[in-house]
Each structure stands twice: as structure tokens, then as C-alpha cells.
Amino acid sequence: MNALRSTFSEIKRYPSALAGLVIIILLVIAAVVILIALPYNEAVRLWRGGEGVWYKNPKTAPPAWTNFFTAADRPVTLHLTVEDEAVEKFREENETTVDIFTTFTFDFNYDEIPQEISLFMEGIYDEKEPFADIYLLRPDGSEERLLSEGIPASRTVYLSQETDLQRRIARNTGFEDVLVGMLSIPDTDPPQIMKGTYQISVEGIGFEPDSDMNVEMVMYGKVHGIAGTDHLRRDLSVALMWGIPIALAFGLIASLGTTVLTMIISAVGVWYGGWVDELIQRITEVNLVLPFLSILVMVGTFYSKSIWVILGVTVLLSIFGGAIKTYRANFMQIKESMYIEAAQAYGANDFRIIFLYLIPRIIPLLIPGLVSSIPTFVFLEATLALLGLGDPVLPTWGKVINDAYQNGALYNGMYYWIVQPAVLLMITGLAFAMLGFSLDRIFNPRLRGL
């Protein structure tokens, strides 16, 4: 306990260690909160969900906060359903028909045209589908008929894709692009956006007493949410958040597993000596001949991409690494100590000597190495993901970078897609590295004061 306290007071002397420690604590808290708020199954469902889950999101939209840095105010996504106040729906039954009017009212004060405006319509009928006229009312009072058509059980209208509408808009406003024509002052060049309150009204008629029509409107923005979206419309915040517990778990388990096993193996080797020691040394030499990353790539390609399999192989290959020689040298010295001899004299067995007398002595040496090796493993996961060997199910930072890289984010200016996970990786890596470095200087007497 006292040792812990004195270690902590030492840490306080190194500002970078303190910063690292604070970041690590924050990351751990964030990881716990995320695991509780967004359980594993839910995260996987969201991440693997595809268009069905994410149809309301724009494609490859940067995060909303990027608006602070751009001169033009880019539109955010607007999703309007009947539950919203901005939507009015009224249904009136006449003698033979039913009037179903849905009106969407929204302000448009942005400087750029949205990605797309879509209407998700659902006609409810037995035999004859209801019919709808859809109008746009601009702030200046001008009106534009958008569509007139029968509404089947499920119909999605992407306004920019409607060819009839495109021809009509071009004739009325002089703009080839439907959305530009809808939202700009006619015949301006370059197109000037007409700011103000717009209304889209869906005037439907049902031909059966029970007919009804449900309409949802989505205006896909050019920016979205706190983290933006990817090419599959997925909200990147899911992956960025879930990346925290995964990165921490992978880094901690790999480095803890590697260091502890390495330590035990080298302690056993030193204690028993003879052929055991010899065997361990030979295995280490064989392992040094094997190219580490190539083997991981092979395992990932040929066997399994599961993060746990990769983790296991990583630990297995790292156990017999260069560190075993350092530990061995240390244990050799400790083995000659008087207290070990004393322990033998009173009849302590081998197990007791290894685990209670040898190993505890080098724990101070081991902790800095352990902490410093965490970033290596955190980045290793990202490296494998970048090579296309990421876990197929889990959302991780490396996979986001891989997706971005594969979809040409660097070439097409979608920097947010790469920069956000990269910055998170960097913060995590740096936090552990800074702490590990300072711990090394605290625990390693040869480095004290250097």
C-alpha cells in the first residue's frame, strides 16, 4: 500500500505521466459507460445493420461540428414524422373518398443544397391504392408540383431521381438539378438559395373507407451527427465509441498476457536451468527467425479473422520475444541472492520459490514495460484492420480507417473519416506511452534522474 502511495507521489512529479494517467482513467470510464449504454449485441446489430437501420442518414457526411470551420453553413439532416410538431396530418372521410393531407413545414437557412430529399410513403388500402399530389410551397409563396402518383404499400421517392420532376423544374426555374431548383431563387447564376420556411404538402385521396397514408420526410444533410457517416450511411460515432473498449481490451489483454507469461516462463527456465532453460532459449531463437507480422497476416487470411484468435496468436508469438532475455538476465542475478538460499534451506518448494520469491522481485521492472507495450498492441489491431484482417463483426477504429482508405477518403477529401479514429488511436496510444515512459524512469534505478 505504502509502495503504491509513494509510486503515485513519484508519478505526480512527471506532468506527462499525470496527463497519461488522467486520459487512461477517462478512457476506462468511457469504455464502461459505453458497454452499459450500448451493449455488445446492440452495437453489432447497428454496425452490421446496413441500409435498413441507417436509411435516415446521409452518405459520407462529415460531422456537424465541421460547420464551425467552413464559411458556408451546410445543412444537417432533418427527419420529419407524424409525431413531430412540424408535421400536420389530417384525414377526413367523404362520401366515397378519404382526404389524407400531410404537411411538412421546415426552415431552410443553410448556404448549401442538401444531399437529397426523400419521402417514405406507405399506402394503406385493400384493392385500390390511394393517390397523392405532392406540392412544394416556397418562402416567396411560389408553388411547385413535385409529384402526382398512386401510392402502393411502400414507396420511396428520392426527389433528385425523378425524371419528370427534373424536366418540370428545369423549365420553371432554369436549374437542371432538382434540389437546386426547389431551394433556389429562380434564374440566379450562380444559384442563390432562397432562405426561409418551406412547406411540402402531400395531398392524398383514398378510394376506400379505410384508406390511409403514412408519410415520412428525410432531408439528407451535408453534415451529420457528432462523428459523421460512412459510405453505408452508418453513424461513425457507434464505431468510434465502441472502439474504446475494444482497443483497451485488446491492448491490456495482449500486453498483460505477454508480459506475465514471458516472466513466468523465464523464471521457470532460470530456476530449473539445464535442458528447460536450453529449450526456452532455442524456442526464442526459432521465434526470432519467424516474421511476426507475416504470420499474423497468414493466420488472419487462412484461419480466422476473429479478434480473439488474433489476440491469442499475438500473445503466443510475443511470449518468446526479446524480453525473455532481459528477464532471464535479471532472474539470474536474483537466483544467487541470499534469501533464495534461505528459502531453500527451510524447504520451500520450487513453485513457492518461483512465484513468491523470484517473480515479485522483478515486478517493478515489469510494470513500465507492460504499460509501454499496450500502445503497440492497440496499434497492432489497427494495423491488421488496415490490411483487411479486422474482426468481421466488431466495429473498431482500425476498421473505420480501413473502410475510409478503401473508399478513397484521402483522395476525395473525406478527411473526417480517417482523422477521427486516427486521433482517438493517437490519444490512447500516447496516454499509455507517456505513463509507461515515466514509470520506466521511476522504477528503473539506472534511469533515475536521466
Binding site: 507475416s294 497476416v297 497468414m298 500502445p375 489497427a382 483522395y411 478527411y415
Partner: protein, 378 residues
């Protein structure tokens, strides 16, 4: 006079005997060391073969491919279409068998694995399954040789630069530790926990994507310049970003490690003594700091040289650099076992040879170490 000659003779005889003893010891040591090294290489290569072949599972994938390919080629032949279904089937089977025999798939895996091992160890690297060199050859040796140049260029530039600048700067910093630059290096050393591709992506983003002053990747522009001077300049332009990424990712930790290492040695008593004697910094450095640390520096340099060989798998992939690392990655993706095993074997050989030679270099530069000499400490 006679006694004198006799004495000289005995001395020279004793010398001869001692020399012979050393020779025998060196020979014995060399022999023992070679045997362990060879065994190590054999085991390492065999493990690689086992992993690369997935214990025979790759064969299944290949068999499927062969059947597909053979069936496709045959179906396009008119003579084949005119045959009866029975004859078609038997011809197909015959062709598949031939193809399997050509690739050596008809033998059990264990036998083939040992044949692979023997071929590999004798550097008879065989033919690739799918990959070809730029000249269209399927010889694994040619493929590896061809990619060696770009890898050497990239890794050589960055790693040698890294090695020499970091040692030089570290010596400078160790002389005045605690200075501003010293603290900057210490503060920046944790940045090296990020791998080089990570910096590579940022460099691409900044210099290629935003500023548009350097190319995104590759080794030469397409089409390559005709003039050889322009060609060299073009390659240089493509080299900057990947080399910088490799350099930046390691420079701070490298300086930090060397600096700490030199500091530990420069706080030894004999260095203090030299200082007290009034020797210049340069003399102290070359005689009292560099001399005892030479073995370590040489080891690090040798390991750097070995590191050049594997290339940087991810950095080369990110920068589309046509080197060994990228080839290895492509080979894994195509299940091209001969190429994977081939590059591993060469790596293993080089590593073993370097470690072997290091022992002798140690003996040359470090008087405390004698090849195979002295008794082992109990």
C-alpha cells in the same frame, strides 16, 4: 647461443600450440554455433510452411480453383463440346488430375511439406502459383529479386538515415542533457508508439491530398519519364513520403534510447576520470563512450540491416510501393504459398547469418569477449 635458440624455439612452439588451441576452440565453437543455427532455421522454416499451408487446407482451395479453371478452359473448346457427356466427364477428370500432378497436389501433405522444406533450404524456391514478376516470370526467386530493389531503396534510405542521425543526435544530446532539445526529445518520444503507416496516412492527407505537392503513392509516375535523370527525380519524389513516414515514426524513440544508453555509459567512473584529466569532449566520446558501446551499436546496426529485408508490409501497402512487404501481403491474399515461404526463408537465412557473424564481430571490437573462450559461469 644454442640455449638462446632453444629458448626461442620453445617459446615459438608454445605460441604455436596456444594458437592451435585457439584455432581448435574457434572451429569447435563455429561448428556448434552453425549446427544450432541450422537447426533453428530448419524449425523456423518448417513452421512457416505448416502455417502457410494451413495444415493442408490451402490445397482444398487450390483444388477448387483448378477444377474451375480446367472446366472453363475445356468448355470453351469446340472439340470438347462435341464429345458425349460421358467422355466430357472423363476428360475433365483427366485434366484436373494432370493439373494437380503438375502442382504436386497428388502427394500427401506431410511428404510435400518435407519436399517444400528441402527445396526451401536449398534456396530452390520454385514457381509461384498465381503471382508473376513484371517480366512475366513465375520464378519465386525472380519475383523476390525484382521487389528487392524498391524495398532496399525505401528501407535503406529511411533506416540508414534513421540510424545515423539518431546515434549522432543522441551523442550530442547526452553531452548536454537537461537542455531544451533534450526535453523536447523526451517529450516527443511517446509519439513513436504509433506505427509508420499511421504517420504515412497523415502525410498523404497533408502533402498529397490537401497541398497536392507530392504523389499519393507508387514509385514512378505513369507513364514513367524517358530521361534517366528525370526518372531518378521522379522516384525520389515518390520516395519522400513513405521514407519520411518510416523515419518520423521511429526517430524520437531512437534518439531517446541511444541518449539514455550513452548517458548510462558517460556516468561511469572512467569517464569522470577522463574528464578530470581534461580530455576534450570529442576524445571522451570516441575513446570512452563509443568504444565500450560499440558492440551494442553494431548489434543495432545489424538488426537494422535485417529489418530492411522484410520491408514494411503496411507502409508499402499504404503507399502502393512495389516492394517485398507489399508482395508478401499480396501473396497471402492470393494464397500463394511458394512466395510466402520463399520470402520467409530468405529472411530466416539472413537473420541467422547476421547473428552468426555478430559473434565474430563482437570478438573483434570487444576485448572482453573471446570467441568460445573462457569457462562458462556456473
Amino acid at each position: 647461443m644454442a640455449t638462446e635458440t632453444k629458448a626461442v624455439q620453445t617459446v615459438s612452439k608454445a605460441k604455436q600450440r596456444a594458437w592451435k588451441g585457439t584455432l581448435a576452440r574457434v572451429a569447435k565453437y563455429t561448428g556448434l554455433r552453425s549446427v544450432t543455427m541450422i537447426i533453428t532455421i530448419i524449425i523456423g522454416v518448417y513452421l512457416t510452411i505448416l502455417i502457410a499451408n494451413m495444415g493442408g487446407y490451402v490445397d482444398e482451395i487450390m483444388r477448387g480453383n483448378i477444377e474451375d479453371n480446367v472446366a472453363n478452359t475445356l468448355r470453351n473448346q469446340e472439340s470438347f463440346q462435341r464429345l458425349s457427356p460421358e467422355a466430357q466427364r472423363s476428360l475433365l477428370q483427366q485434366e484436373v488430375r494432370n493439373e494437380e500432378e503438375r502442382l504436386g497436389l497428388n502427394q500427401p501433405f506431410i511428404i510435400r511439406s518435407f519436399r517444400f522444406l528441402w527445396d526451401g533450404l536449398t534456396l530452390n524456391l520454385g514457381r509461384s502459383l498465381n503471382m508473376t514478376s513484371d517480366t512475366g516470370s513465375r520464378q519465386v526467386r525472380l519475383i523476390i529479386l525484382e521487389r528487392l530493389g524498391p524495398t532496399m531503396l525505401l528501407m535503406g534510405t529511411s533506416q540508414l538515415l534513421l540510424f545515423f542521425t539518431s546515434v549522432y543526435l543522441a551523442l550530442m544530446l547526452s553531452r548536454k542533457y537537461g537542455s531544451f532539445f533534450d526535453r523536447v526529445v523526451i517529450a516527443l518520444s511517446p509519439t513513436s508508439s504509433a506505427p509508420s503507416w499511421f504517420y504515412g496516412i497523415f502525410f498523404i492527407l497533408i502533402f498529397a491530398s490537401v497541398l497536392r505537392i507530392l504523389p499519393f503513392g507508387g514509385m514512378v509516375s505513369a507513364p514513367p519519364p524517358e530521361n534517366s535523370l528525370e526518372y531518378a527525380l521522379d522516384v525520389l519524389k515518390h520516395l519522400i513520403l513513405p521514407a519520411a513516414a518510416l523515419y518520423v515514426s521511429l526517430i524520437f524513440i531512437s534518439i531517446y534510447n541511444w541518449r539514455t544508453f550513452f548517458l548510462i555509459f558517460s556516468s561511469e567512473d572512467y569517464v569522470e576520470m577522463a574528464k578530470a584529466k581534461g580530455l576534450t569532449d570529442r576524445e571522451i566520446e570516441s575513446r570512452y563512450i563509443l568504444r565500450p558501446t560499440l558492440p551494442t551499436i553494431i548489434t543495432a546496426f545489424a538488426l537494422t540491416l535485417i529489418g530492411l529485408w522484410t520491408g514494411a508490409i503496411v507502409t508499402e501497402t499504404v503507399f502502393i510501393w512495389p516492394g517485398l512487404g507489399r508482395t508478401l501481403f499480396t501473396a497471402v491474399g492470393l494464397y500463394d504459398t511458394p512466395v510466402i515461404v520463399g520470402s520467409t526463408i530468405i529472411y530466416a537465412y539472413l537473420l541467422a547469418i547476421t547473428v552468426f557473424l555478430l559473434d565474430f564481430v563482437y570478438a573483434l571490437v570487444d576485448p572482453r569477449v573471446k570467441v568460445g573462450g573462457g569457462q562458462k559461469k556456473a
